[in-house]
Amino acid sequence: MKFPTTIPLLDDMLNGGLKTGSSTLIWCSPFTEGTTLIYQLCASWLSRELPVLYFINTKTPEIVLEDSYQYGWSLSRYREEGLLCFIDSYSAAIGVESKERYVINDPEDQKEIVDVTYNAIRDFRARNCLFVVDSLSTLIDRFGEYVVDLLPELNRSIFLYDLVGVYLFTEWNYDPKLKEKISNICDNLVSIIPVERQVAISDVFTVKRRDGKSVEERIVPFKYVKPGGMRIYVPKILVTGPYNAGKTTVVHALSTRAVSVDRKGTTVALDFGHLEYKGFSADLFGTIGQQRFDPILEQLGGETLGVILVVDSTKPETFSRALEMLRKAKVYGLPLVVFANKQDLPRALPPEEVKERMRLPPEIPVVGTVATEKKNLLNGVETLLSLIFGMGK
């Protein structure tokens, strides 16, 4: 069976989710964050009434519960019900008594760790249990490379007992040969790395291995939000178009929160809004329509990932200005969706005719919208997101 992670593009890249009997390595570059993703997986398992077995050697189970609560996942109830069980290999190390079902009394004792873990795994056999190791790097730090040689057998047990294994690993300064070995040990390899595009630095994830085979890497930018957890993140969608086309209305209608600098209903600096939609998060930059502000448009066009071009469907005479704005912002050639706005007005041209009059290439989608009624806006956003991320390919 396959279980979705509930993170949109990750599921796509894993062909639907995590398979029963499979092992997955979450590989984090230094200073990136993978534990939140682990919590999110736990929360999604538990919310489906599927059990979670959580091996922990980096903090106390209480901290896991507190941290995940900050992201909006209330997991304590599941621990009381016994659906969430910890293998506590941390408390004893700091001299705290542990009340967990599985406790490792001497975290320096390899044999005890192995024995307790295998007992726990057997207790949870045949239930599609998510088995988490947080973290593999801490085990390696304590016991050396030898730990890595134990993994194939652990993976075999995960396979035999129908669990879903997920290991968290942070790539500190380990021997390159060891890293190579670790990267090939699991069925799936999800990698979290920071990427610098010009000056903006954002974290991305990518799937490097799936079902034991290398796959073509697709890079997906994301951020963690509280509450909510991992969101696919588009730092900039440019909303542009001629004067009075309805850009500000579009930005505000799409945003959970937005700010604008305007005078008498006309934007004079910038509309800015956050969009949250189906696991995606995007920041919208609405530009100024009037020509005299074009220098600012040129400046704000940088590092755009996708463009919404808003035009007034009743004013075909402004269409050439719309295309000029794309050129000025230097965003021509980026993923683009045209909003043929004001479809509710009597003289509005239908989207197909707007497309024809603008002489747009056939692959550029034009959607008819009524921004004041929020009509069709999310359709347009969905189209743009699938263009940006090449979804459904």
């Binding site: 200073f31 000056v199 730092p235 600098v261 920041d283």
Partner: protein, 128 residues
């Protein structure tokens, strides 16, 4: 982008530079923003929408620079906004970046400018 001789990532380093700046007299929060309005790093209280602040800062400085170049009076060095409850100072930090900080309204401008200048030099070194 080459890094200075240190093992921390650019982002960590930038955050440290900002924390150091915030430790100075009267400065409450600060951020590094790309000229095109994206947040690069920030150290500010959680109730501030840092992304929106970044976008607006870039717009402010961009508008000031445009105004100056239209006047043919050289380049705009910085934007200073004196509010009733805060001062905001934004300065360019190299070709691509802006450093912006917010301080208590009573803090002397000269002091802020002095501190921010030192931080700008550090930021430039990170991306040197």
């Amino acid at each position: 982008m080459e890094m200075a001789s240190t093992s921390a990532t650019p982002r960590e380093l930038l955050k440290e530079i900002l924390s150091e700046l915030n430790r100075g007299a009267g400065i409450q929060s600060s951020a590094i923003v790309s000229r095109d309005g994206l947040l690069v790093a920030s150290v500010m209280s959680e109730d501030v929408d840092a992304e929106a602040f970044a976008a607006m800062t870039a717009t402010m400085l961009g508008a000031a620079e445009t105004a100056f170049s239209e006047l043919k009076k050289g380049v705009a060095e910085r934007v200073i906004v004196e509010g009733s409850r805060a001062k905001i100072v934004a300065v360019g930090a190299g070709k691509d970046l802006i450093l912006v900080c917010m301080s208590d309204p009573s803090v002397q401008l000269g002091l802020i400018l002095h501190q921010i200048r030192r931080s700008v030099e550090k930021v430039k070194k990170v991306f040197a």
